[in-house]
């Protein structure tokens, strides 16, 4: 473990170099994650005539800008990387290194954060200015829970990527399963529609699925829509999903490695 901790800064620095080398690709990818910014004017127009489910124009603005920011901070592409490495056989080279590949996949995603933050941070400031700081956490304690919620959301995203990516060790490709996961994410996380606007039966169901904790929960928390009790309850549920998906990813990966046939390598 100490070895891993010593390696991480160098891995992060090299990952940052890669992000800079791939800056055009990263920028294009960010354009593909702008759906909340597309949804924003639609919902603003709907709210022109009066609040919808408690959302006025400013609250919609805050919600979707927060959604965009959370998406930037919690995006992971390890599933695609694993699939590519399995298909091309380059996973062999990664496995020869005396450091668990999970660390490498994590650092590769996290090292793009500075570039993504360079866009997300000004947007955060803009949210505060636009809404007169009405839709923001109201205490440092809540901000602390909010940070844990962001970390938890990233870990769920990362674990799901690892678990689905590791399935390619059995099947050679699991990209389509990742598409299914993303479909669930787009619909059930609050990415396109705030979860509180869903019919009660669907809204209640989202508490039992991981998608809410990827986006809707941190967004509602940061926009000041949750009480401390609600925030802590959802945080606990979120971290249960972190543990469940993390254990699933580790299990699939370890089983997958024993089956890994390295066909392309």
């Amino acid at each position: 473990m100490m070895r891993t901790l010593r390696v991480l800064p160098t891995m992060w620095r090299i990952g940052l170099y890669e992000s800079i080398a791939y800056r055009a690709e990263l920028f294009i990818w960010m354009l593909t994650t702008t759906m909340p910014l597309v949804m924003l004017p639609l919902w603003q127009a709907v709210a022109e005539t009066g609040p919808v489910g408690g959302y006025d124009v400013d609250r919609f603005t805050a919600y979707f800008l927060y959604a965009f920011i959370v998406r930037q901070l919690t995006s992971v592409w390890a599933s695609w990387t694993i699939n590519m490495e399995v298909k091309q056989g380059t996973l062999s080279m990664r496995l020869m290194r005396p450091i668990h590949p999970f660390w490498a996949y994590a650092i590769e995603s996290l090292s793009a954060l500075p570039l993504r933050l360079s866009i997300a941070a000004p947007l955060g400031v803009f949210v505060l200015y636009w809404t007169g700081a009405r839709y923001v956490v109201d205490s440092w304690a809540m901000a602390g829970v909010g940070l844990l919620a962001i970390v938890g959301a990233w870990l769920i995203s990362f674990s799901a990527n690892l678990a689905l990516g590791a399935l390619s060790l059995f099947t050679q490709s699991s990209i389509k399963l990742m598409d299914v996961w993303l479909a669930g994410y787009f619909v059930m996380s609050g990415y396109l529609v705030p979860l509180s606007l869903f019919p009660a039966i669907i809204r209640n169901a989202t508490y039992w699925m991981p998608f809410r904790y990827l986006l809707g929960f941190p967004v509602e928390l940061w926009s000041g829509s949750l009480t401390m009790h609600e925030a802590l309850t959802q945080l606990a549920a979120q971290w249960i999903w972190v543990l469940l998906l993390g254990a699933t990813a580790a299990l699939i990966w370890n089983r997958g490695l024993t089956r890994f046939s390295a066909v392309s390598g």
Binding site: V7, T10, M93, R94, M96, P98, A262
Partner: protein
């Protein structure tokens, strides 16, 4: 054994690797049927393979395409789990992939790379320095030596994507050796290199082996690599070991003859020449004859006294030919 230590012995016992492969006939009907009911067949890539390699040996691992060379190499490197049998590399079971084991070995796959595609090789070197925990001073000394030896000074700061295949291969070798491993698994390490650089890489690998006592297991389709580097060869076919010994002994068993390459002052007739040995090649005034190994001096003397000769050379039959014959026999010599 750990990084920076000398080579390790390798013991393989009754190693077997079986793959389950999906199969179907061609055509739309077969494709539709496969949607609902897939059929599989079992393919044995490696079968009952046993051998022992002493620490510091240089071994050529040969066989036709699909013989199981790379599969075996990957089981030795811990990438593949054997179906049955055992592998011991320096006291480690490779498939357990312990950090101390990974610290002590390296794998170079000629067709795969560890260099980061859009960054200069120097960044991959730095990453490996951190991962393998090589001291900065050792790292700079080693990379300096390797870069000088392989003439890479002008290359390592360019993005990998802009390098030629040969340049990338040389950088792969540097990246693979930064942690000074005691066991080298090299799969086609000279692929893509020009002839001059192949010689440099062979010399370099031999020097590395001699200097650090590293154990070397090499697969290559280039028999010059094997002849130059490997006193001992293991030959496998259809996953099974069919020869273990020196190149000379293999040649003696399979093709007990010498090649007599000769250049005459003028063209000679085949019927005149055939009295001295089997004609392998005859073009004008140049010929290559196959002479029985135990009768070379007499026959050569007779030939030299019979024809006016400008030049001649006695060699052993090409290893490729010997191996082809071995594979055709499909059994131990």
């Amino acid at each position: 054994m750990s990084a920076n230590q000398r080579g390790a012995s390798i013991t393989v016992s009754k190693l077997r690797k079986e793959y389950r492969v999906a199969e179907r006939a061609s055509g739309l009907g077969a494709a539709m049927r496969a949607l609902f009911r897939r059929t599989y067949k079992s393919v044995v890539a490696v079968d009952a393979l046993s051998f022992h390699i002493e620490a510091g040996e240089r071994i050529g691992f040969l066989g036709p395409n699909g013989a199981g060379k790379t599969t075996t190499l990957k089981m030795l490197a811990g990438l593949l789990h054997p179906t049955s049998g055992s592998v011991d590399v320096g006291g480690f079971i490779p498939s357990q992939r312990k950090a101390a084991f990974l610290d002590s070995v390296t794998l170079v796959l000629g067709q795969k790379q560890q260099l980061i595609w859009d960054l200069p090789p120097a960044d991959t070197f730095e990453l490996n320095r951190a991962i393998y925990q090589v001291e900065k001073a050792d790292f700079e000394r080693r990379v300096g030596e390797l870069v000088e030896l392989l003439a890479l000074a002008t290359i390592i700061r360019k993005p990998t994507r802009e390098l030629s295949l040969g340049e990338r291969m040389k950088c792969e070798l540097v990246a693979a050796l930064i942690h000074q491993p005691g066991v080298l698994f090299l799969d086609e390490p000279t692929i893509g290199l020009d002839v001059a650089m192949q010689v440099v890489v062979r010399d370099f690998v031999r020097q590395y082996n001699e200097r650090y006592g590293a154990t070397l297991l090499l697969t290559s389709h280039d028999m010059d690599d094997v002849m130059a580097l490997c006193p001992r060869i293991l030959v496998i076919d259809k996953g099974a070991l069919i020869y273990d010994g020196t190149v000379e002994e293999l040649v003696r068993q399979i093709r007990p003859e010498k090649r007599f390459a000769v250049r005459f002052t003028q063209p000679v007739l085949a019927e005149d020449l055939s009295a001295f040995g089997r004609i392998v090649k005859l073009e004008g005034a140049e010929a290559i004859l196959a002479l029985p190994q135990d009768d070379v001096p007499q026959r050569a003397q007779g030939l030299l006294s019979r024809f006016p000769v400008i030049d001649f050379e006695v060699t052993r039959p090409p290893l490729e030919e010997v191996l082809s014959e071995l594979f055709l026999r499909g059994k131990k010599p």
